[in-house]
């Protein structure tokens, strides 16, 4: 495929003027984007920046780190870029990447250059993150997992405090042996969740799972009702072709589809062995179609047990900390922290054990209702809003505004 900058520019301009891309960030992905000549790379960076800057987004580049030179670092600095380096752990765990993972010496040299690249980036204060894939070789057992997090701790000391820790999704028979089971993934992610929190790190997807439950917009794209023919993520190929997420390329899909979206979600919701009745539907939607069971996008993700397990784990944590929290999975979800807010209570608390708002101005000596009972509208003092459900309390009335909070302790 021949690269055509003007067509890429044209496609990007078209996409960025679509309503669905409003505020979207543009990143440079590969293959390996640093393989293109320096001047060409700068042209693309400049183009991305022209859209990112007005939206307040940083231009990112995802790289394998093997070609990070001082000249390139200068370029990243010039455009205030952030760099995501693909690495699966310290050298002895990062053995599935590099030019030839089957050659120990080549892999050793690659790992050395990778660590030097990260050091160089940080020395120059380039915001750097790690794109790590979790597999049997870096967290197949607890010892490896500790070594992985120790390495990430070392990076944190250098200022690399976030990134992505995604599970390996095997698309080929020869990589199946490296994929972690759902059970192991729950163990790994539960540990990583605690590690992330206690070290105040920002690794994903652990932070995203919390945000999803809080209802702050599902992220990443795999939880966003993705359609296999018209994916949430859009790619621009070097020849300017606008196409789907790169996860579809391996399936031979190289064009964006046309037609109605959403059939997969409709199907999953109606199928018992898929997602019918699932508590976490609204924060998952069946997951990524490319990760679907049996390689069929019409099924739910093969990582369902892990996703469910992690949402359950985090839900319990959140409800333990904030017993009256409203999560996206709850009925009548609104602001997750409403039961704890000043807008709602006269005295706030983390558990939502509020003291109902009392109208102290009204001093009515007669008793229009029993203590705690609803006061009939026609017997309310004229200064009270008749649309609220006022209850009688000695010395005043309180508006019972929070009865929709399950488990709300109304003292």
């Amino acid at each position: 495929m021949e690269a055509d900058f003007s067509k890429v520019e044209e496609s990007l301009n078209y996409l960025m003027n679509q309503p669905f891309t409003s505020g979207a960030g543009i990143g440079l992905h590969g293959g390996e984007p640093t393989l293109v000549p320096h001047t060409t790379l700068e042209k693309y960076i400049k183009l991305a920046e022209s859209y990112n800057k007005p939206n307040g987004n940083t231009t990112t580049i995802v790289t394998n780190g093997s070609r990070i030179t001082p000249k390139l670092v200068k370029l990243f600095k010039k455009y205030n870029m952030s760099v995501a380096v693909s690495a699966d752990g310290p050298p002895h765990l990062n053995i599935l990447r590099g030019p030839d993972p089957s050659d120990e010496e080549i892999t050793r040299v690659y790992n050395k250059s990778l660590m030097n690249a990260i050091k160089l980036l940080r020395k120059n204060k380039i915001p750097t993150s790690i794109m790590c894939v979790l597999h049997t070789e870096n967290c197949g057992n607890d010892e490896k997992l500790m070594e992985l997090t120790d390495w990430l701790d070392t990076l944190a000391a250098m200022g690399v405090t976030g990134g992505r820790l995604n599970q390996l999704e095997s698309n080929f028979p020869w990589t199946d042996k490296y994929e972690l089971s759902n059970e192991r993934l729950i163990e790994v992610y539960s540990y990583l969740f605690e590690w992330n929190n206690s070290n105040k790190l920002r690794y994903l997807p652990m932070r995203e799972w919390v945000d999803n439950l809080l209802g702050y917009g599902n992220s990443p794209c795999i939880y966003g009702e993705c359609d296999w023919y018209q994916t949430n993520t859009t790619s621009i190929l070097p020849d300017g072709t606008i196409t789907n997420c790169d996860r579809t390329f391996g399936e031979g899909l190289h064009c964006i589809g046309e037609g109605a979206k959403g059939s997969r979600q409709s199907a999953l919701l109606q199928t018992e062995e898929e997602c019918e009745g699932c508590k976490y539907w609204t924060v998952c939607y069946g997951g990524c179609p490319s990760e679907a069971r049996d390689g069929d996008w019409r099924n739910k993700t093969k990582f369902c047990e892990m996703t469910y397990g992690m949402y359950e784990f985090i839900e319990n944590k959140l409800r333990g900390l904030f017993p009256n929290i409203k999560l996206k999975i709850d009925e009548n979800y609104s602001d997750p922290f409403i039961a704890m807010s000043y807008a709602y209570n006269t005295r706030c608390s983390s558990w939502g054990n509020y003291k109902p708002r009392v109208n102290n101005q009204t001093s009515n000596t007669s008793s229009p209702a029993g203590i705690g009972e609803l006061v009939p509208k026609d017997q309310l003092p004229s200064d009270l809003d008749p649309n609220l459900p006022w209850r009688y309390a000695p010395g005043g009335y309180h508006a019972d505004q929070h009865t929709d909070i399950p488990g709300g302790d109304q003292q």
Partner: protein, 269 residues
């Protein structure tokens, strides 16, 4: 009831294929619409159905009138893309209304076609099939599966002459003129549910269809269509969704829910 609302979603395998096929498909689809009514004109069928859409109602009326056709409304239904396996009735006429109608060159035939749809116990599919010109054997086989199986494609393939069936998978070498696997995406000759993918009576009907279609479709488009319909295809149905994979495109459309995934390998070793 578990069901997927009628939909069509398709994607071309490459941009080159898209550029090549889009004008051809437009030609085929235009020709197909004309053929549905040309078949009446030439006496190969008595009537046909037509769905009026609110936004294009006036243009559609003119289009039918210009061809000397009479339309009688049967049902007001929800506007949809692709094939519906039942009528999604609605009372209100709005921009999302689809008026399913009987069309013929005489009032009597249109009325007859309409009446066959409005019997106290529903539609008389045998009579409707006969008025559409479908061979009796195809109608019989279709009714052997429908409506329990809302889209009986797999069962009809499994019951076809020469089909090799292994559990939920069918391998079939069928006649290209009867290939209706990709009909939802506009790739078809007559496209109806044939009782057997090698049925001689169905082939005769398809030949009449091609005879009419050739008056409207460019010969190169026709040739390419038949070539595609003869090439390997995979049809599968899972969780109520049908997916068809061909050398040029793949598409998804509504099917019905089955316990197991059903697969048809068309013209594949």
């Amino acid at each position: 009831m578990k069901e997927i609302f009628p939909f069509v979603n398709m994607t071309w395998n490459t941009r080159k294929l898209k550029d090549k096929w889009v004008p051809i498909l437009q030609d085929i689809n235009h020709g197909d619409l004309e053929t549905q009514f040309e078949m009446i004109k030439r006496g190969y069928r008595q009537a046909n159905s037509y769905g009026f859409t609110t936004p294009r109602f006036d243009e559609e009326m003119i289009w039918l009138s210009e061809r000397g056709l009479i339309a009688l409304p049967i049902h007001r239904t929800q506007l949809h893309k692709g094939y519906d396996h039942r009528f999604y009735m609605k009372n209100k006429i709005d921009m999302e209304t689809y008026v399913y109608s009987a069309v013929s060159d005489t009032y009597d035939s249109a009325k007859q076609f309409k009446d066959h749809h409005l019997l106290p116990d529903g539609t008389d599919h045998k009579e409707v099939g006969a008025m559409l010109g479908y061979p009796d054997c195809c109608v019989e086989k279709f009714l052997g599966h429908w409506p329990t199986k809302a889209d009986p494609t797999w069962d009809l393939a499994a019951g076809s002459d020469g089909a090799e069936v292994a559990e939920n998978t069918v391998h079939i070498t069928g006649n290209k003129k009867l290939n209706n696997l990709a009909r939802a995406f506009g790739f078809k000759v007559c496209g109806y549910y044939v009782g057997d993918y090698n049925c001689p009576e169905a082939i005769k009907f398809a030949d009449k269809w091609i005879e009419c279609m050739e008056s409207y479709v460019d010969s190169e488009s026709m040739e390419m269509l038949l070539e595609l319909l003869d090439s390997p295809m995979t049809w599968s149905m899972k969780n109520g969704i049908i997916e068809v994979r061909t050398e040029a495109f793949r598409g998804a459309t509504n099917g019905y829910f089955t316990d197991e995934k059903k697969v048809i390998y068309w013209n594949q070793p």
